[in-house]
């Protein structure tokens, strides 16, 4: 759906994006991850035909951003970093305006406006002036304008920036719910967001590609061990943490057990497996068979935070970006760029 090849964007004095290549398949949600100033926004602006690339190519749905920008624009919904709202317009008036710009008209337009009002939960502010809306609503109106013409590709630049935690969750849910119909690229510098929302992740730093992979693989590959968090409770309320820990350590395949809450009343442990071992089933069985309750058992993984610091740290420390890339067997390579142009 999206193929970027050796894309570079140079400004007068700086190189914002330096020969990055990646591709995104239809229907995927891809997280575009990098610290501030990494080149995320620039890349997105190239994909939306707002900026022309200095070198390399980018195609969306088979159309080149330089050769056929109008075809690309028809297929893209774009939410810039700050939602492009006109403060003096009413929500519904604004959505109609954007819909017309994107080529909708008549009954079609009315239907889509109604649809996005409902989909983005902004029906209750449809006659309010955009300038009077709260940040959360503004963001949702921004999202509504991006999907109004039902584009194949959605490009969202930091869609949760500046929202409060409740709004962040709502926005993430909304984005996830859009995933089936649209191919989504979303940029962020917040790591849990990628873990929670995306299937694929593209990490860039200082304009260079650091890694692209699925979120799960990325977590697994960096260590190759399973990390599981377990919460145990005893029905009589008197389980001995030491006893539980010993029991868990006896489970085959377990390398290490850490007590996460030594003084407290909750028995929370982090269990590391040996390389290549799946231990969750055995852990559950062992706990239940010992007469304890299993309150929680979840894969902790290595947080993307650690992965990210490791990757970008290497990059900046020894300029060994290529080494990091090879470790990860990254960058879904150019097959996708051979999509037919039309």
């Amino acid at each position: 759906m999206i193929a970027v090849k050796d894309l570079s964007k140079r400004y007068a004095r700086t190189t914002a994006v330096d020969r990055i290549s990646f591709s995104v398949e239809k229907g995927e949600i891809v997280g575009f991850l990098g610290p501030n100033g990494a080149g995320k926004t620039t890349t997105m602006r190239v994909l939306t035909c707002f900026l022309p690339p200095s070198a390399g190519t980018a195609t969306v749905a088979g159309f080149d951003v330089l050769e056929q920008p109008r075809e690309v624009k028809k297929r893209i919904g774009y939410l810039p970093e700050s939602p492009p709202l006109y403060p003096e317009m009413e929500t519904i008036e604004y959505l109609r305006f954007v819909g017309k710009l994107k080529g909708l008209s008549g009954a079609d337009l009315a239907k889509r406006v109604d649809y996005v009002l409902g989909r983005c939960f902004i029906a209750d502010v449809k006659t309010k002036l955009l300038g009077k809306l709260s940040k959360g609503y503004r963001q949702r109106v921004g999202l509504a304008q991006a999907i109004i013409h039902n584009p194949e590709v959605l490009i969202l630049d930091e869609p949760t920036a500046g929202l409060d935690p409740k709004q962040i969750n709502e926005t993430r849910d909304l984005i996830r719910s859009l995933a089936g119909d649209h191919t989504i690229i979303l940029s962020t510098h917040i790591l849990p967001e990628v873990e929670q929302t995306c299937e694929q992740v593209i990490i860039i730093n200082k304009g260079k590609l650091v890694a692209t992979d699925s979120v799960r693989n990325l977590q697994a590959r960096t260590r190759g061990v399973e990390s599981v968090q377990v919460e145990v409770a005893a029905r009589d309320g008197a389980a001995d943490p030491g006893a539980v820990q010993r029991k868990l350590e006896q489970v085959p395949g377990v390398a290490q057990v850490l007590c996460k809450d030594p003084q407290g009343h909750r028995l929370i442990f982090e269990v590391q497996s040996q390389k290549g071992q799946m231990v969750r089933g055995d852990l559950a069985r062992a706990i239940v068979q010992s007469g304890w309750d299993l309150n929680e058992l979840r894969a902790a993984g290595m947080s993307l935070e650690e992965i990210f610091l490791e990757l970008t740290g290497k990059e900046s420390a020894a300029d060994a970006g290529t080494a990091a890339k090879q470790d990860l067997e990254p960058v879904s390579q150019p097959e996708a760029s051979s999509e037919p142009k039309g």
Binding site: F50, Y78, S82, Y86, M89, F97, L101
Partner: protein, 255 residues
Amino acid sequence: MRNTWTICRKELGSYFVSPIAWLLLTMAGLVSGFFFWVLLRDFVLEGIEMQMRGETFPMNVNEQIITPLLMNVGVIFLFFLPLITMRLFAEEKRSGTIELLATSPIRDIEIILGKWLAALILYACMLLFTALNFAFLFFYGNPDWKPLAVGYLGLLLQGGLFLAIGAFISTLTKNQIIAGAVTFGICLLLWVLEWASSYDSATWATVCSYLSVITHFGSFARGVIATKDVIFYLTGIFLGLFATARSLESLRWRS
């Protein structure tokens, strides 16, 4: 064309929802009303004086009120036009909404024409307000309407030219004040350029005189449509909008 109209409607909405349009209309009515009153008073006093002296020198409403008032309106609106155009692109650039327009499947020229047309319509509304004054003349007197219509055509063409220049300057900056001030300066220069040729007949003086809008507007104010003046304004409008288009395109390569 549909997109042009969409943009134009949106711009008109912005003008008329905010106080900008109402303020400008009020000012246009107020200032032109004052000038009308001054001219009319002089005209009436002169008439009385002549009656008292027993002379019957022919007096002409068209020559003594309409033509000078149209000239005055032309100058007064120099001050108002930058206020109309300064926000056209500068505001979109500052607030980031330009990204929405630039990533929508519409042509740059449709954006530009839409905005220019909206500005022209607001300007035409201001002209209508000044026309209220002339309604009195028709009510109490019997002036010739054709020179008046020609005068308004001239004002419209001249406004179109200044608005095109203003639109171009608005694409150059994010700052509305800068856009407004520069537009005003340039329009004023274009207006007074003719003075340079007053005591000189060198080539550059002729060029200055040709570029000056007074030279071209004068004939309209007197009720004459001269093809060369119409062509002057139309080419000016075309050049202004063309420069706007180039500037808008270059934004992408520069930024």
